[in-house]
Symmetry: C2
Subunit: 311 residues, 2 copies
């Protein structure tokens, strides 16, 4: 099977195999990515993040149906960077979405942590490229938690939706502050719960404090995903942000910065691999031993390795 | 003032200035670190992590007093990697500890996030070296949250204490699983709360599942830090782990691995700086532009940069 040709035709099997290759870093992954690269850059990528229990999966489900009814094809990547233990949770959630998997215009894939977190955000971005080349109009990246790694993963998005939920208590404030900066659009899900007014006011207040470089003021939409309430409004507000990004030319800027970061990350990984190959063995161990025994200091050790490796 | 000489004499002012230099990456930071390096490796480093609200600051306070009563000098570094917004919280907590700051044998310092998280764990490790060279016997690294960045920061410790608290609900389970692997010693703080038995059993069960390479079985101590209960037992159990680390030679292994990682991280940072200087400008921007316009792909771009930079 010619994975690349099939993938460009939108074959689900080819998409699935390509993402598996990316996820496991199979030998053909880079070749696939290289070949599909000219066919990327067409999809609109939407990141979805928020605390566990906010109902992100259900909301993604409903958003997908709404986008489908607007004639768009959709790809979903659900990422769990926080722990290998909770990988099952996503898969469990995804079972709910099997109605969607019957739809030829939808592709859903879960990715769990294997290896480094840095690797995880790169792999997510690569999976996005696969779905993009396969012709999906809208790609959702859904994360499980709200840590730094989720923030890094969501950086692959054109629009970031932050999903919050009333009644998570005060301990969550620090988390909220951390993700405030990356939210282009906010949803308060489970909006029939107590505390929705207070949460709404809190978010508005935090947005007032936010000193962003752009003039965009994130909209806050109340949703009850399980009852499909507020979903049309939420898609409208995502589309409004997308239109703003295009109109202002910010989308090019954001994508250029993203490409730049991707290249830097890849460079970094390539150099680390080179370092491991070239100095990891005898010389590096000897230097580490010297430093461990305080016969040398790490700064001088680094200097001598650099002199060996760099032009 | 000769910072290094004063620091080696244990001057609080010199310690403070050296950590400020490290934190802000002042020009003299590397020189200071290089000079003090031969005087490091004597302190015993204890990492303290756990969810917000677990009472880590109060517990650190009591542990410090207990170590002081055992004749040890103590350094404390409180790190908040999660958000610039919550930096104030630590400082607030630290006001409680002002009784300790009157003690010549104790040095307390908060470090908040500035710049990259990767930089944060390096800076924490460097601040530990400052306190180590200044003659502190015991150094606590206390983190605010329980994310990946906290795990990275706590890697600078010889013994890691994980502090949990009853009644945080089920959402916290994933977090618990993530930090389980790094806990050498566990404390259940606020042990007069409901749910202490259940939490104790849960931790034991998770420890049963843990496949660690060592034979060490982490002890779980119940504490009520605010009433100074369980603190002596907790210090005993930390000391037991320290003795185990020394007896088995694991401490050398762990410290060697740490030195290795430190050198790799520094190499990485140095190479990134080199890349920025050497290719960041015209050529790198031109390549990124080509890739952005799909005239080139990132994999080929990386290859050509590497050929330019590496020997």
């Amino acid at each position: 099977m010619d994975i690349v040709a099939e993938l460009l035709n939108g074959s689900k099997l080819a998409i699935s195999r390509a993402i598996t290759a990316v996820e496991n870093e199979y030998g053909d992954a880079v070749e696939i990515l290289q070949k599909i690269y000219p066919h990327t850059g067409r999809a609109y990528v939407i990141g979805i993040t928020g605390p566990p229990g906010a109902g992100k999966s259900t909301l993604t489900d409903k958003l997908t149906k709404e986008y489908r009814s607007r004639g768009k094809t959709v790809g979903i990547i659900a990422v769990d960077p926080s722990s290998p233990f909770s990988g099952g949770a996503i898969l469990g959630d995804r079972i709910r979405m099997n109605e969607l998997t019957m739809d030829e215009g939808v592709f859903i894939r879960s990715m769990a942590t294997r290896g480094s977190l840095g690797g995880m955000s790169r792999k997510t971005a690569e999976a996005v490229k696969v779905l993009d080349a396969a012709g999906k109009d809208i790609i959702f990246i859904e994360t499980v938690g709200v840590g730094q790694s989720e923030v890094d993963i969501v950086k692959a998005a054109d629009t970031t939706l932050v999903v919050l939920v009333p009644g998570l208590g005060d301990d969550i404030q620090a988390i909220k502050a951390g993700i405030l900066e990356i939210g282009d659009v906010f949803a308060i899900n489970k909006a029939d719960r107590d505390g929705v007014e207070r949460l709404h006011i809190e978010i508005e207040m935090m947005l007032d404090l936010d000193q962003n470089e752009t003039e965009w003021r994130p909209k806050i939409t109340r949703t009850i995903a399980s009852q499909n309430q507020g979903v049309v409004e939420l898609v409208d507000s995502i589309e409004e942000h997308a239109a703003y990004m295009v109109k202002t030319g910010l989308i090019q800027k954001r994508r250029f910065a993203r490409t730049r970061n991707e290249i830097l990350t890849m460079l970094d990984e390539a150099i680390q691999a080179y370092l491991k190959k070239k100095v990891a063995n005898s010389r590096f161990e000897a230097l580490t031993e010297e430093v461990s025994q305080r016969k040398n200091d790490p700064y001088s050790a680094v200097k001598s390795i650099l002199a060996e490796v760099l032009k």
